[in-house]
Structure formats: C-alpha cells, structure tokens
C-alpha cells in the first residue's frame, strides 16, 4: 500500500511541480494589477510548459540523443530505446528563443504604455482609457 503510494508520487512528482509552476504563473496573469507582474507570470507559465515538454522526452536507461561513434554504428542498427526522445528538445529549443523575442516585444509595449499613461497599474490605466473616449 505504502509502496504503491510512493511509486505514484515518485513517478509523477515532476508533473506536479510543473503544474504548481503553471498555476503560479496563471495566478500572476489573472490576479496581479501591474502589467509588469503579469508578464513575469507569463514567463513563469512558459517555463512550466518548457520543463513539461523536456520531461516528456525522458526515457529510463537512455542517453542524450547524440550518436556516440558515428562511424562504428553506421552499420549496426541504432535502437530507439537507447536515446531519449529528441523531438521535445527540438520544439523547446526554438520555443525558448521565440519566448525571449516575444518578451522583448512585450517589454517595448510596456514602455510605450508607461509613456502614454505614466503608470503600469491596470486599475489606474482603465479610468484614463474611459476618459479618452
């Protein structure tokens, strides 16, 4: 009974950590008033998704997806169980760089908003928006 519970915890603790991270990010996006803090929340959420994808790629008793001795193994069959799944790594590799680029766009929008309204608090921006109409 206890062994079963421990096995469940050990085999899924990584997913739970990512879920916790994701919820922290979501909380930041929904609850916080400051736009800067919303963007920090967005980044945390992104990190959770990236970690989740990378952990999907893991395999027991497998190594990194780089073939060791290319010439020696060219003739022997390469077994998929000896290398971890390269696909999530590829996807996340591009996702990280795109995340940085979009973060740059978000920050430049924030600078623009700050110049326009002199504040980053949402509850102070909204009345100013209504006045403008």
């Amino acid at each position: 009974m206890v062994d079963g519970v421990i096995e469940i915890i050990v085999s899924r603790i990584n997913y739970w950590v990512y879920i916790a991270l994701m919820m922290i990010g979501l909380y930041g996006i929904i609850i916080k008033n400051n736009i800067m803090k919303k963007i920090i929340g967005l980044s945390i959420l992104q990190t959770a998704v990236i970690l989740f994808f990378v952990s999907i790629g893991a395999k027991m008793n497998a190594t990194i997806p780089i073939i060791d001795h290319p010439n020696a193994s060219a003739h022997t069959a390469i077994s998929a169980t000896h290398f971890i799944n390269p696909l999530p790594h590829v996807l996340m590799l591009t996702a990280i760089v795109v995340a940085v680029a979009t973060l740059g766009v978000a920050l430049s929008m924030i600078i623009k908003i700050y110049r326009e309204y002199n504040t980053l608090e949402e509850d102070e921006i909204l009345p100013q928006l209504r006045e403008d109409k």
Partner: protein, 270 residues
C-alpha cells in the same frame, strides 16, 4: 480560487500520464524512433536534435526564425524615435584625469577622441576593471559562439544557441562600455542588414533548391551541385541553415537590447 481548482484538475489528470521515463510513453513511440534510427543514414549528423531541427522540421525552424525577425521589427516600430532633442548641457569626461566637463550650449564641444568620453547622466563612474575584463573576455565568447554554431552537428549546439551567445557578447560590450560606442561599432543599419541576410540565407537556400527542381529546402540539391553523397549534402545544408539562424538570432538580440535599454532613443542606454 480558480487557479487552485484548475491545478487540482490538472493533478487529477496527471494520474493518467505515463510514468516518468517510460520508454513506451505515447510521445516517444510515433515519429521519434524514426528520427533516432534514420538520422545518421539520412543526414550523417550524429546530433539528432540538430538534424530534426534543421532538416526534418526545416519549415518549422524557418518560420521560427521569421517570428524572431518579426519580433525585432515590431520592437523597432513600437519604440524607435528619430527625433533627437540635443540637451542644452552636454557632459564630457576627460579620461586621463577623470574630470567631468560641463559644456553649455554655444560652447565648444571636444572632438571625438580617445581622451574624451561623452556622458549623459551626471555621475557615471569610469569602470577601468570592468572595461579591461570585457575587452579580454569578449573575443573568447565570440569564438565560443562560432564554435557552438559550427560544431552543432556533433555536440549540443546550433544556430539558436550560438546566435544567442554571440548576441550576449555584443550586449556585454554595450553594458561594459556605453551604448554609443557599441552603436558606433555596430550600427542599427548593419544589424537590420544582418537580420535580413540571415532570413535571406535560410529562405534563399530553399528557393535555390526549388530552382534546381527539388522540393523547397530539400538539401540533396547540394549533392548534384558539388558531387557530395546525399547524406553529407544534408549535413552541409544543415550547416548553411544554422549559420542563417545564428545571424538572425544574434542581430535580433542586439537590436532588442539597443532599443529596450535606451527606450528607442539609441543614446547612452543603461
């Protein structure tokens, strides 16, 4: 409240997940065994991640590159201001003595020389140690970046990572010195040209393969052009594409830093 509820729901969902590190997980039984088993035969690239990134999923990577390029352009359009308001008082530092000169409008500004340095805020310390260390370290960082790009076939690395390292070295220069001297060495026009060039290398290579009656981004055209065997043609095609990606990423990182650090004015910066 909502997030706790949603988190609980997701944790409940995680009980149906495959165990961590299970080789028979659905994610690793469909297309990835094909990649692992055939990469060496198809492309002669030992690093499977690089091969999948630039060859099997070439379109995806191309448009990721375009996304980065578009993000750089978007930043430029959002923030860049071309109206330069010259302040009435300009500050210069005489470097050998460390004295700060305060020159009002109508005064004679010192010529651009290595004895004078323009300042924008009243108190900027002259960081000799920081500047000397950066001058020593930056060339090594850049060589490492080139190594990461070129050696991405055999070890972890590739265009994205190498480009970021290269961009980081230039940003380090801009932080340790000031933004003006960084822009003097690598102006905005050069950066935009580099970013366009990088996307052009990637997309142009695809068009080249179309002109030679193959599919878009089919690297085996190099086999016909230069008489390589098809596998090593793929390997060289990947290298060309990675260089393009590296140039775009480097240029956009530096562009983002220039614009964000000076809020679009491209003056002294941080």
């Amino acid at each position: 409240m909502l997030t706790v509820f949603l988190g609980g729901l997701l944790i409940y969902g995680s009980f149906d997940f495959p165990l961590w590190g299970d080789p028979a997980a659905p994610a690793s039984i469909h297309v990835s065994p094909y990649y692992i088993e055939n990469t060496l035969k198809d492309t002669s690239v030992p690093n499977i991640v690089t091969a999948v990134l630039a060859d099997y999923r070439g379109y995806d990577t191309m448009f990721e590159t375009v996304v980065i390029f578009a993000a750089g352009i978007a930043c430029l359009f959002l923030l860049r201001t071309y109206k330069t308001v010259e302040p009435d008082i300009q500050l210069y530092r005489h470097i050998p003595t460390g004295i700060t000169l305060r020159i009002e409008k109508g005064g004679k500004f010192p010529a651009d020389s290595r004895y004078f340095e323009r300042l924008d805020s009243a108190w900027v310390p002259y960081g000799l140690i920081v500047k000397t260390t950066c001058r020593l370290v930056i060339p090594f960082i850049q060589i490492f970046a080139l190594y990461v790009i070129a050696h991405g076939h055999y070890s972890p690395g590739g265009g994205f990572q190498g480009g970021v390292i290269m961009g980081a070295s230039l940003v380090l220069f801009a932080i340790a010195f000031d933004l003006r001297s960084a822009i003097r060495r690598m102006g905005e026009r050069v950066i935009m040209l580099l970013a366009t060039l990088g996307v052009g290398i990637y997309a142009g290579f695809g068009i080249l393969s179309m002109l030679l009656e193959k599919n878009y981004l089919d690297y085996s055209v190099l086999a016909n052009l230069f008489a390589f065997d098809p596998a090593s043609a793929h390997s060289h095609g990947i290298l060309i594409v990675e260089i393009g990606v590296g140039i775009v990423v480097m240029a956009v990182m530096v562009l983002l830093y220039y614009i964000l650090a000076s809020a679009g004015k491209n003056d002294e910066g941080l």
